[in-house]
């Protein structure tokens, strides 16, 4: 009891020291101060420097703080720390920590990812990556934030409200992505890295900050469940979250950047239900990591058994650095590989007649970057910040023609912008039906872990091509997906991919891309998961296999345990293999922020945007195509109005094409800026 009082005293003193006199909540406990050059508003995108990375001692301290709290609660944990671009800097398993996590939404749904057993370290890595990838100098989001914005209503439980603004984002950063990179077995590498399970909605993943800039994330798996919180109106004390929070001490997100200071549709987002006063340990006085029994783990495909330094965001080592070639004056950032070569410079498409030229691609990208730079951010503090986004342009076959970002955009938007663009290009294409018809059946598995082996059994089979008749019937367009006569924006696809149509209306039947609500959960959504599940499952089996387990399908041996002459019996799915078609190489996305590009009546590609509010993402994509078309003398532009999806009103409710935001620009009070385009 005395110790507890003392701890409170310490926390109180820290609180007083950290209090700037501006209100008194939340206390700035455990937050490293912003650099003196950041100004009174804190960091606004330019604080990251070559020194903004986690050193091995810092990673060790973060692990030790989390482990101390886990020990104080007698809940041994697996703790992962990643850098801002997803390099796994360490995975620490405390003795006695649960080996696996069970994926459950709490909804009475079977199949999909529901009830799947996954190694705890993969869950911890996914949570750490989520904390790092969703955050920036302008916003600090956690896995709890993610959980709030991917459910069937926003806020969860508020019936009648449409689904979460990032509905579907959990199926991004997939281990099979061609945008996200992967661990090569040796050193930290340029990102953005893949996540074993996509983005996580399970509380227990936070961003880590130094000097006001994100340097990584921490993820904790201790409670045996990989889930999400269906009720954001209450306050939970989640074990994973408490342990992860302890880990962030000294590296905590600036209070004025946390999700709870950011509103979407007038509603504040959630960052953490726990705060430092809820801890049972004092992270300020932490013994060395060796004081808790446990070990640094190697995780196949992610990390060696060592603590490593992170990369400095914005330097070539991080894989994201300032542009020097294509977008002068636009403060753009581009992706590079390990030799500092750009991965996605603007290039011409080679997908047949009327293909996008390099100049057209560059022009669209420049317009999009310029629009983003003058656009009001929806998810950033301080108010009045520029929107920060990633922008992708793909051709009609899904090949990436350009990928770039504005300063300090959250990392997750790279993969997502490509997913969105690919979705718009694919479903607007006349080839969609034939490609879907060619895709193999998806088998969903259960996994049982037995000594020395993992046994898969098929729980459910889904035909991707079932979407074709479902969509045609729903839209009453018997040639849909094969006549190229509907221009689908990502928003329109999203309308059709919700468990209710119209979105959020309880009792309404599901859209054709979605499972019926009774069979739907964020872990079993319908077409979006059906298409990528085989690759995700293969990756999971690969990791289990690499951990020494033989893989059985029923009683049939698929892959023996690795041995010296067969080190990789079950290979990892290669980059870009998320679906069986390269058109959707990293899967597809079902929330707004992409429009197809047309030349006259002909589809020639799509532009996808991700990283700020979805209305902002829509505006950048929509206006960039319009402006580029004007700048290029009308050679390209939007789909003719009569082709756009908002001409269709299935079941009496019109699809939406795009929605531009209120008061979109920082330099004007113009409203309704997308009218008539």
């Amino acid at each position: 009891m005395r110790e507890r009082n003392f701890r409170h005293l310490v926390l109180m003193m820290l609180f007083l020291a950290g209090c700037s006199g501006e209100g008194n909540a939340p206390p700035a406990v455990g937050v490293a101060p912003a650099p003196s050059g950041a100004g009174s508003q804190g960091c606004t995108g330019s604080c990251a420097s070559a020194q903004s990375f986690l050193s091995p001692p810092e990673v060790e301290r973060i692990l030790a703080q989390a482990a101390q709290e886990a020990q104080a609660r007698n809940r041994p944990a697996v703790i992962a720390v990643v850098d801002r671009v997803g390099n796994v800097l360490a995975v620490y398993r405390m003795n006695g920590a649960p080996a696996t996590m069970r994926i459950v939404s709490g909804r009475p749904v079977r199949g999909g990812l529901e009830e799947l057993i996954v190694p705890s370290e993969l869950a911890a890595i996914a949570k750490a990556i989520t904390g790092a990838f969703l955050s920036s100098e302008g916003n600090a989001f956690s896995t709890r934030t993610a959980g709030q914005i991917v459910q069937e209503h926003f806020n969860p439980g508020e019936s009648g409200q449409p689904g979460g603004p990032l509905f579907g984002v959990q199926f991004s950063q997939l281990p099979c992505s061609d945008v996200n990179t992967r661990f090569d077995g040796a050193s930290v590498r340029p990102g953005p890295h893949r996540s074993p399970l996509g983005l996580s909605a399970d509380p227990g993943g936070f961003p880590l900050y130094k000097g006001g800039t994100p340097v990584g994330g921490i993820g904790v798996a201790a409670d045996g469940l990989y889930t999400l919180d269906p009720d954001v109106s209450d306050r939970d004390l989640d074990v994973d979250e408490l342990i992860a929070l302890a880990g962030t001490f000294g590296f905590a997100a600036p209070p004025e950047r946390r999700a709870e200071r950011i509103t979407v549709e007038g509603k504040t987002l959630r960052f953490s239900d726990a705060d430092f006063a809820d801890l049972r340990s004092d992270p300020a006085r932490v013994p060395a990591l060796g004081a808790t029994a446990g070990q640094i783990l190697a995780v196949a495909g992610y990390a060696p058994a060592a603590i490593r330094a992170g990369t400095a965001f914005g330097t070539p080592a991080s894989g994201i650095r300032p542009d020097r070639l294509d977008y002068p004056g636009l403060d753009a950032f581009v992706l590079v590989d390990g030799s500092d070569s750009e991965r996605f410079r603007p290039r011409a498409a080679h997908d047949g007649a009327g293909a996008l030229s390099e100049n057209e691609v560059r022009t669209i990208m420049q317009r999009a970057l310029a629009l983003a730079n003058r656009m009001r951010a929806q998810i950033r503090q301080p108010l009045g910040s520029q929107a920060r986004v990633s922008i992708a342009i793909v051709d009609r076959e899904g090949a990436i023609l350009a990928l770039a970002r504005t300063r300090d955009a959250p990392v997750f938007g790279l993969d997502v912008s490509v997913q969105k663009a690919r979705a718009a290009a694919f479903y607007s294409s006349a080839a969609a039906a034939s490609v879907l018809a060619s895709l193999p059946r998806t088998s969903y598995f259960r996994i049982a872990l037995e000594p020395g082996r993992a046994v898969l059994s098929v729980s459910e089979e889904r035909e991707p091509q079932a979407l074709i008749p479902a969509l045609r019937g729903f839209l009453a367009r018997p040639q849909a997906l094969s006549d190229g006569a509907i221009a689908f924006s990502a928003r329109a696809i999203g309308n059709l991919a919700r468990p209710f149509y119209p979105d959020g209306v309880r009792g309404a039947s599901a859209g054709p891309f979605s499972r019926p609500f009774e069979q739907w959960s964020p872990f079993h959504v319908g077409t979006q998961l059906d298409l990528v599940y085989p690759a995700v499952a293969l990756h999971l089996a690969h990791v289990l296999n690499q951990s020494g387990l033989a893989i059985f399908l029923g009683t049939t041996l698929i892959a023996p345990a690795p041995s010296s002459d067969n080190p990789v019996p079950l290979p990892d799915p290669p980059p870009g293999s998320c679906t069986a078609t390269p058109r959707l190489a990293n899967g597809h996305q079902i929330f707004p922020g992409a429009v197809p590009i047309y030349r006259g009546n002909t589809l020639i590609g799509a532009v996808g945007v991700s990283g700020d509010g979805i209305d902002q993402d829509d505006l950048v994509a929509f206006l960039a195509v319009h402006e580029a078309g004007q700048a290029l003398g009308g050679g390209l532009g939007h789909a003719p109005r009569e082709l756009r999806a908002d001409q269709l009103a299935p079941q009496g409710v019109r699809l939406r094409y795009v929605q531009c935001p209120t008061t979109p620009f920082l330099d004007s009070s113009a409203q309704n800026v997308c009218e008539g385009l």
């Binding site: 909540a25 009648g160 409200q161 007038g266 504040t268 509010g613 939406r656 935001p661 409203q671």
Partner: protein, 591 residues
């Protein structure tokens, strides 16, 4: 006289704004009239020199009937009671004629000292208006809707029928009734036509328009005259049930027909009056604003103690001091009949919330010399658990000031209005300094003829939260005035206005109002819109109203008003740069 004084009371129960007009003579109707010796009030016309007294004083009564001879006294005709004198003298009136002695209008008892008064009112509203209207997020009404704001034009039609019955015992011409039973029912049919989906109901499949009907119990009480405390019939009385109540002269804090128990009375020849009241609020039906007894009582209590002093500090001026305490414990989710979240508001943290707040108020109404003046000041002090934006409790510290002064120049009354409600300075701190009332119905600055007071401008895309409520002027960011909880994290209000009433003829009154409105602090708006800076100015609100009483009575009143909102920089930062209008055509027929 009796029925004239009762009618305004019946009108009070309507939440619609035309209740406004009657309301400002309703409050004294609750109380016996002032008693000012006529000699103290010199006869004069405002703005003119006092008339010179007649040169000769004396009886001039040509053709007067000579008094009856002394021996005629004693030749009495027995009549049942004094109310039937006229009958005894041979006057006969049809049973339905309310303008002469009528047993249904409490002119004559129905037995002994028991009187019955039947009331009937028809209220018709035609209200074209325009509002910034969000595009339906799940599906727009038309293709090509790529922006957040849709077509603003809407039309509201409402027909309300009110039937009331008062049954009381007493000799009310001379003293307060001893018992009073009252029931008033209001049935309303309403229809709203809009040009966008999800404006009237949350389900876009249900279209752009909405028709609805509701029967509300607006009064249901018994009133017991406890005792007389002086020879001048100063009294104590208790009233239990759904009853009208106004916390102040202009309905700034709490003016509603709510279930409660109220002890009230007066002293010292009506110089002092008091109320001690507890109300537990009845749920309201969202589309009519009428009481929804079937939905039960809210977990919301209002305790009020107030004291009125007549002719203080100066003759002709009423002063009042109030303590009101509002305890709200509605920490469960509630969706209204249209499917929108009513409690907690779809705003900020959207966490179930309790609050308790104590209001200290000083109010005044009357005239100082020729200057008519009404004043109101409230200080709100309390706690919200949690705050509207934050997960922790906040301290409520907010204030409100309003004053309206007018001068009469013969048939013209010119007035100036001023209101100030503090706004919250920081949405995310532990202080809530935005003022909100319990249930306002302000009769002020043009009341429901004003655009801002009449209309509920939706703030956040989706329309779940409005700036000021319908028939409310505080920018309290509630889901609705009727079902929502008070919210003290709001931008507040500043208002300056001028206006005038022109009594063109006994049948015609023309009024105008020009108000300029500002937010007090836009920090909460900036937080909700994730946008900064948002300037303070809401804009100019100009309105014109014509009241026509063809029979110079309150029995047939027609009102036509039109208001325009000319947006200021703050409004333009939130909404498209468009002018908005509010037209109100209103016919009230009373029996």
């Amino acid at each position: 006289m009796k029925k004239r004084s009762i009618l305004p009371l019946a009108l009070l129960m309507l939440p619609t704004a035309w209740a406004a007009e009657p309301a400002w003579f309703a409050w004294p109707a609750l109380l016996p009239a002032a008693d000012i010796p006529p000699a103290q009030v010199p006869r004069r016309r405002p703005g003119r020199p006092p008339p010179s007294p007649p040169e000769t004083a004396g009886e001039i009564n040509l053709g007067a009937i000579t008094p009856a001879p002394v021996d005629a006294v004693g030749e009495f005709v027995p009549v049942p009671d004094r109310w039937r004198l006229m009958e005894a003298l041979g006057f006969q009136f049809p049973w339905y004629d309310p303008y002469n002695q009528n047993v249904l209008k409490a002119d004559k008892p129905i037995r002994e000292d028991w009187f019955l008064n039947l009331l009937g009112i028809s209220d018709t509203i035609i209200e074209p208006r325009s509002l910034p209207t969000p595009v339906g997020p799940q599906g727009s009404a038309r293709p090509g809707a790529y922006d957040p704001f849709s077509q603003p034009r809407q039309l509201i039609l409402a027909q309300t029928l009110i039937a009331g019955l008062v049954y009381y015992k007493g000799n009310t011409t001379f003293k307060p009734p001893e018992w009073e039973y009252r029931i008033t029912l209001a049935g309303q049919f309403n229809r709203v036509q809009t040009r966008e989906l999800r404006t009237t109901r949350i389900d876009p499949r249900r279209g752009r328009n909405r028709s609805d009907a509701h029967l509300g119990v607006q009064e249901l009480f018994v009133d017991k005259h406890l005792r007389d405390v002086s020879a001048r019939y100063d009294f104590d009385s208790i009233r239990i049930g759904i009853q009208p109540f106004s916390s102040d002269f202009r309905g700034f804090l709490f003016q509603d027909n709510q279930f409660g128990v109220r002890l009230f009375g007066n002293r010292d020849n009506n110089k002092w009056q008091y109320n001690l009241a507890w109300f537990r609020r009845v749920e309201k039906e969202i589309n009519s604003g009428l009481n929804d007894v079937g939905a039960g009582l809210r977990d919301d209590d209002v305790f009020i103690a107030n004291l009125y002093r007549q002719d203080w500090p100066v003759l002709g001026f009423f002063s009042q001091a109030t303590i009101a305490h509002n305890r709200n414990r509605e920490d469960e989710f509630l969706f209204d009949d249209n499917g929108f979240l009513a409690r907690p508001a779809s705003l900020g943290g959207e966490r179930p919330r309790r609050y308790q707040v104590t209001y200290l108020g000083l109010n005044g109404d009357g005239h100082i010399g020729r200057l008519n003046l009404t004043t109101s000041a409230y200080y709100a002090h309390g706690r919200s658990r949690p705050g509207s934006f934050v997960p922790f409790p906040t301290r409520i510290r907010a204030g409100f000031l309003a004053a309206e002064a007018s001068l009469d120049f013969s048939w013209i009354r010119l007035r100036g209005s001023l209101a100030y409600a503090t706004g919250d300075r920081n949405a995310y701190d532990d202080k809530s300094t935005g003022f909100d009332a319990i249930f306002e119905n302000p009769i002020f600055a043009g009341a429901d003829t004003s655009y801002w007071i009449r209309q509920n401008v939706p703030l956040v895309a989706g329309g779940g939260v409005t700036l000021s409520g319908r028939n409310g002027m505080l920018n309290s960011l509630r889901s609705s005035k009727e079902l929502g909880q008070s919210n003290f994290d709001n931008p507040g209000l500043r208002l300056l206005g001028v206006g005038g009433d022109f009594d063109l003829a006994p049948e015609h009154r023309l009024s105008f109002n020009l108000n300029h409105l500002w937010f007090d602090h836009t920090a909460t708006l900036e937080a909700l819109r994730q946008q900064a800076p948002i300037p303070r100015s809401i804009g100019f609100d100009a309105s014109l109203a014509w009241i026509w009483r063809p029979f110079m009575t309150q029995n047939v009143v027609f009102r036509l008003s039109a208001a325009g909102l000319f947006p200021g920089r703050g409004f333009k930062a939130l909404f498209p740069d468009e002018r908005h209008y509010s037209v109100l055509a209103n016919l009230v027929l009373s029996y």
